[in-house]
């Protein structure tokens, strides 16, 4: 029984890894269960043994990215201390999660909102952005961040910079740490030499 559970869990996991690659390549709308079956090398009925269909696979895939992002907000360094330090931690870890969960976050960022699952994902993404914007606002109020850049605009530029990494990052070419350091340096202290 335990063995069977493990086997099943492994299969959903690996099915998801294949699915997310196909979704990213062909787009969610452009992917059929037939495409997934071919890419995974298993029959459609085997896929239906694990999930109800394409939309559930999407929910599991973007859910994985969202869970990893929301988990950051629960980390000790994100939930206590000065607002600016909490924000810095969240910015660093968001970059790291984007890099370690690259295909899942890429899929999340491409969600457009045509299905209930996509609308749910967009809503949770917005929630995450709002939580970060609140932290940023708290740091401005505390005098830890400059007040001449409006918080909503700063948050957008910050996420714009972080999210753009999915467009060019290839695992192995650079360390996740190096990229996260660069994001934190640029975002908090800027490129100017001091």
């Amino acid at each position: 029984m335990a063995e069977n559970t493990t086997r099943t869990a492994y299969t959903v996991e690996s099915l998801l890894a294949v699915t997310v690659e196909v979704f990213n390549e062909r787009g969610y709308d452009g992917t059929s269960m037939e495409d997934l079956s071919r890419a995974a090398g298993i029959s459609k009925s085997s896929i239906y043994h694990h999930v109800r269909g394409k939309e559930e696979l999407l929910r599991l895939a973007v859910g994985r990215a969202l869970d990893a992002l929301f988990a950051i907000l629960e980390e000790p360094a994100a939930s206590s201390g000065r607002s600016v330090d909490r924000l810095e931690h969240v910015v660093r870890r968001t970059t790291e999660v984007l890099l370690t969960e690259l295909p899942y976050v890429t899929l999340l960022l491409r969600v457009r909102g045509n299905t209930a699952t996509e609308l749910w994902a967009l809503e949770r993404r917005r929630d995450f952005d709002h939580r970060v914007a609140e932290l940023l606002r708290a740091a401005v109020t505390a005098g830890e961040l400059r007040s001449d850049v409006e918080a909503r605009l700063a948050t957008r530029l910050l996420f714009g910079m972080i999210n753009s990494i999915v467009e060019w990052y290839r695992p192995g070419a650079r360390s996740a740490d190096g990229v996260a350091d660069a994001v934190v340096h640029l975002a908090f202290d800027g490129l100017r030499a001091r």
Copy 2:
């Protein structure tokens, strides 16, 4: 004769404005001459009177964005003075051009490389990025920018931040100046209060 030239120029200009909206909405690949004819409210033969086809319209549209971007590099403030000041000028003006030529730059950023025109546009975009990266490198060498963020990575993050603006900016909601100021503040001095 002069009147006729003006009339023709106006028509190509307005045809281009409609075209770029349709390309951005349906994608270049997903747009037919029929779609353009319907959106512009003129016959296909009227369109063919001005351009050879869809690909020439794409070339004119992305060419407009590219010309505006390359023109920045020729501006006095971009071509003389300290490297860091030249770079700051280029970053500010690139943001402004993105906002004032929003549909054209949006189209340019979505080019994927399936046709000769798309490959040409990607090549010119890369040229522009390289010119900015060179300026950034010169500023690092001069000790004006921090040396602990690698120039290529810094350029990518910088353009990632600027280019992401096309995803949310709606003309009128914010001034182009305000957005450009925020980009310059964040990129050069960071969000931290001093």
